[in-house]
């Protein structure tokens, strides 16, 4: 770098005569200060669009809200399924649950389930498998649900388990779809902002 380079760059160093001559000649075209006349009609102010500025934040908040809602729904469904499980056992017309009570209704069992638990003779008879399952469920419902939790789970038939799993899968699918939609909306919102930025930089009258 010689002195001419420095002079051309920041006017330091030894001036180059040719550059100086050009400056002198072209300096006659230099900007002559003029006062800026601002018409009264020209409005200045922040007209920032609320949604444009906070779109990403809104999208994130909506995503979180949707996830919480989905989680709540899922938990609610689980609780409902758990509370429904004893009733499923005794629901008539569901052969997969426990067909035996429907096929062989016992007067003692049908009229008063409590009798089943109190009746010693019935307890002795439940050595056969179907009878044993029915009585277990009645006992579980009436006596102590906590103690017989394992038995209750066993009483859920494969069909009902499949239904529950299908419901859970549907819920998970719905949550995934909602999540995908939200992420798409978020990307779109960010895309809009980026486009605006570029637009700003190239905006012309």
């Amino acid at each position: 770098m010689n002195s001419d380079s420095d002079y051309l760059w920041d006017k330091t160093g030894e001036p180059d005569p040719e550059t100086q001559q050009l400056e002198e000649i072209l300096g006659t075209l230099r900007y002559q200060p003029r006062p800026l006349e601002i018409p009264a009609a020209v409005q200045v102010g922040r007209e920032r669009n609320f949604f444009r500025g906070s779109a990403p934040r809104l999208a994130i908040a909506a995503t979180i809200a949707m996830l919480l809602l989905g989680l709540g729904l899922w938990l609610g469904l689980q609780r409902w399924l758990r509370s429904q499980s004893p009733e499923i056992v005794k629901t008539p017309g569901t052969p997969a649950v426990n067909p035996v009570p429907m096929l062989e209704p016992s007067p003692n069992q049908d009229q008063s389930p409590k009798l089943a638990s109190d009746n010693g003779s019935d307890r002795k008879r439940i050595g056969s498998a179907p009878r044993h399952r029915v009585n277990q469920s009645l006992l579980a419902r009436d006596a102590n649900r906590v103690r017989h939790e394992g038995n209750k789970n066993q009483q859920l038939t494969a069909n009902k388990l499949q239904e529950a799993e299908a419901a859970r899968d549907q819920l998970i699918l719905a949550l995934r779809v909602a999540s995908a939609k939200l992420s798409f909306a978020q990307k779109k919102a960010q895309g809009v902002n980026q486009r605006d930025q570029v637009h700003n930089q190239h905006k012309i009258g």
Binding site: L36, H202, K203, I204
Partner: protein, 197 residues
């Protein structure tokens, strides 16, 4: 010996480059403050922005348009900028933003004015220096965009390289390259023109 001189030159260049960056950061703060003040409703502060950036806009336009159009366009561009100031996201980037507006406005001007013959601005002027200046400016306008704008800002508006970099948002290295290459091209073109200098 040559190596020592070369090293000294490099050191000198580095030492000179550092203040320009510092100068840039110092200048950026009041600029952002001025923009914020205008956005807050203080219209008078826009006058200060106008004083700071009118030479830049003038230079950008002069590199592309006839001189007779430039003066009015400078005012128009600042009024437009005042109306649209709320769309400026980075308040520190007022310079690059308004320079871009000026470039776009110049392009618009060329698009609208179809096939017109440009008369000399000072048709009746007998001022030889003025005519000479117009002729040199016409030669500068034949240079590539990046070179002509930088050269006009340096030779016409009298800005230094660091100032050009700060105002336009270009890196100092780019401005330096544009200045030197543009000057080289200009010299070679002026060499073909007889008796300009």
């Amino acid at each position: 010996m040559y190596e020592l001189e070369a090293t000294a030159d490099v050191l000198l260049m580095t030492a000179q480059a550092k203040p320009s960056i510092a100068e840039r950061s110092v200048e950026a703060v009041p600029e952002a403050a001025l923009v914020e003040a205008v956005l807050a409703g203080n219209r008078d502060m826009f006058g200060r922005l106008y004083q700071l950036y009118a030479p830049l806009v003038h230079g950008v336009l002069l590199a592309r348009l006839p001189r007779s159009e430039v003066e009015d366009l400078v005012q128009d561009i600042f009024l437009h900028a005042l109306r649209k100031l709320h769309t400026l996201r980075d308040t520190r980037a007022f310079g690059p933003w308004i320079a871009m507006i000026a470039r776009n406005r110049a392009n618009d001007f060329h698009r609208r004015s179809r096939e017109t013959v440009e008369l000399p601005d000072d048709l009746c002027s007998n001022d030889s220096s003025q005519i000479k200046a117009e002729e040199i400016l016409a030669i500068i306008r034949t240079l590539p965009d990046a070179y002509r704008e930088t050269l006009v800002l340096r030779l016409v508006e009298g800005m230094t390289g660091p100032e050009i970099a700060t105002r336009t948002g270009l890196t100092p290295a780019s401005v330096r390259v544009n200045l030197h290459r543009g000057m080289k091209l200009l010299r070679s073109k002026l060499g073909f023109e007889e008796g300009l200098l």
